[in-house]
Amino acid sequence: MTKRSQGFTRRRFLGSGAALGAGAGIGIGSFPMRLAVAAQPFKIGLFIALSGPASLFGPTQRACAELAAEEINQKGGILGRPIKLYPTDAGGAPAETTKSAVRLMLEDDVDLFIGSHDSATREALVATIKGKVPYIYTPVYEGGECAFNVYVIADTPPQQIHPSVAWMMKDHGAKSFYFIGDDYVWPRKSNEYARQVIAENGGKVVNEEYVPFGAPNKFEEVVTRIKAVKPDAVLITLVGADNVNFNRTFAGFGLDKDIARLSLLLEENTLHGIGADSSRNLYSCMSYFANAPGKANQEFKAAYFKKYGAKAPQLSIIGVDCYDGVSCAKALVEKAGGTNARRCMAASQGLVFESASGPWKMYNQHVDKTMYLALCKGTEFDIIKTFPDIKHGQTCRA
């Protein structure tokens, strides 16, 4: 095989795809072919936050992906090829990340992409990769991604919002909600969905409000407005430092006594920032918490701390999703017998793979999950309710 040094054309891509497909069909079983292929690493472009505000998650994302790669490589890699990760920054502007994606496809010839980043970057990457290379998207998101050759293992609104909001209304007696979020696609789409759930359960949304994403926001004015309206609960779709600032201001004004808060992206790092004095009456609903029960998570954590020691980066859903992503990549490519787009799409339907939370099954390019509702106790999550096997609710046709 000659080294591709010129442009990455459609014809060239189809050619190599066919060659791989043929190899998978004919040669994999035979010994000499396997030897020849074994020398080539399986290259995965890993989009994580190495810079910018989200770079808080970078070390965990990288550590988890490397752990998964190491475990898989010890068992023979993917189709006999050892995994080689290409950690690439997705913490900056989407346009910068797409440039890196093109470089990874043209120069490094990556076999697959895994991405743990915001939705604006995902949309740009989907438009750039155009289904030429399988792309696995991993964190919490707003749903609706059905692009060809894109596989989503993220928590969707029907998984996060439906059980938690319904629980808050039925068991907690919340009738009126106040929405506060950062102004971009994930909060807006999530709130759209939450509005339906609240209406179905006979509640009402008293206000929906957004703050500019990435600006140095302060929340005294917002909190004062919430205080005047007195809702039963606040649904928070703020991320990172905004989430911390809002919750600290909220508690500072003494609203935490009477008003419950449900945050849709509240993991261990953010809770540390919010702090014990501001986390009363604060809930989070996600598919992973570092202290989630289950054998799979125990084993995952044992391996993680064995590899990285006590000073390992803080475990949280953003990070562990990269472990799940690499695991999904192995299952997908081995079931498809290669990275041919059509075969991967076909293989994804009914694909079963091991996540850090146990086995997950993919259909319609998404996965069903067990969800956990946690109440903050100081800077720890106390899981008060488990919702087993929640459907992803996405209607993509693979």
């Binding site: 808080l56 409000e209 703050v211 600006a215 005294e220 004062t224 430092a241 003494g254 702090g275």
Partner: protein, 284 residues
């Protein structure tokens, strides 16, 4: 008065006074010495981390004050001596140099404390019944301290002998030197005062925000806005800048929402720079 309106009014006062306090250090360094200190936010960050260290070590909250004065003072002295002194009257060069310094300080914070968020227990928790409404006690204290510190510095600067020397140094360094004022020492002391004030502001805001290596970026941008809009080198400039930037943002955020607040602030900043490039309170 309606408690909601009153609370929003206090929010505006809070926004303006804390913004003035956070800007004060830069007002001294940029406004008086003309040094475009991009690392201003990182000195604020050092103060916040000092407060975090004090809590972690089990010391009282105010123990952060001597720690900050020591760290920011020493650092300010060394930075002025090595980085700034050769670059006086070369604004663009100081900008690049202090930008590098800000990166260095941020990376140092990452290396020492890690990338994650830290939070501080609020030293004075709870709310206070104030003019018929509830307002967080710590924020009320911050308003008082901010106004006191800013006013105190202003009075000192206009009345004291050192203040006169500084004004002489700014007006004509050679003549001041000839008059027996040690311009070098004075500039050094002024710079150190600026970095220490930034650090003290960091202690003040530390219990309210996530303490992290990138936190300085939030403050440096606003501080520059305040000074450019208000006008350099005067107290009135500092207050009018803080009133416009912080006040407009707070008022619009209160009556509309935060997006319009931020938008209006940027539009106003552009308008002022366009129509009154020397700031609202222009010097000379």
């Amino acid at each position: 008065m309606d408690p909601l309106v009153l609370t929003q009014a206090i929010n505006v006062v809070y926004g303006v006074s804390t913004l003035a306090a956070v800007t004060l250090g830069l007002a001294v360094i940029f406004g008086l010495l003309g040094v475009l200190n991009i690392a201003h936010g990182e000195f604020v960050m050092i103060g916040a981390y000092a407060a975090f260290v004090a809590q972690w070590a089990g010391w009282p909250f105010l123990a952060a004050v001597p720690v900050t004065l020591l760290v920011c003072g020493l650092l300010g002295y060394v930075v002025e001596r090595i980085l700034i002194r050769p670059l006086y009257r070369r604004p663009f060069d100081t900008l690049v140099a202090t930008w590098g310094l800000s990166l260095l300080l941020r990376e140092a914070a990452k290396a020492i404390f890690g990338r994650g968020y830290h939070s501080l227990t609020i030293p004075v928790p709870g709310t206070l019944h104030f003019l018929g409404t509830e307002y967080p006690t710590y924020r009320l204290i911050l308003i008082a301290i901010s106004l006191t510190v800013v006013t105190g510095l202003v009075v000192w600067y206009s009345r004291s002998r050192t203040g006169t020397w500084i004004r002489a140094m700014i007006g004509n360094p050679e003549l001041a030197q000839a008059q027996g004022i040690s311009v070098r020492k004075l500039a050094s002391a002024t710079f150190v005062t600026g970095t220490c004030l930034a650090g003290l502001a960091g202690i003040m805001v530390a219990p309210l925000v996530p303490i992290e290596p990138y936190m300085g970026l939030d403050y440096v941008l606003r501080a520059f806005f305040v000074l450019v809009v208000g006008g350099l080198g005067s107290v009135l400039g500092l207050f009018s800048g803080a009133a416009v930037i912080g006040g407009v943002n707070s008022v619009i955020s209160a009556v509309a929402n935060a997006t319009y607040g931020y938008f209006t602030m940027l539009v106003l900043a552009i308008l002022v720079m366009w129509l009154r490039p020397r700031g609202i309170v222009a010097q000379r």
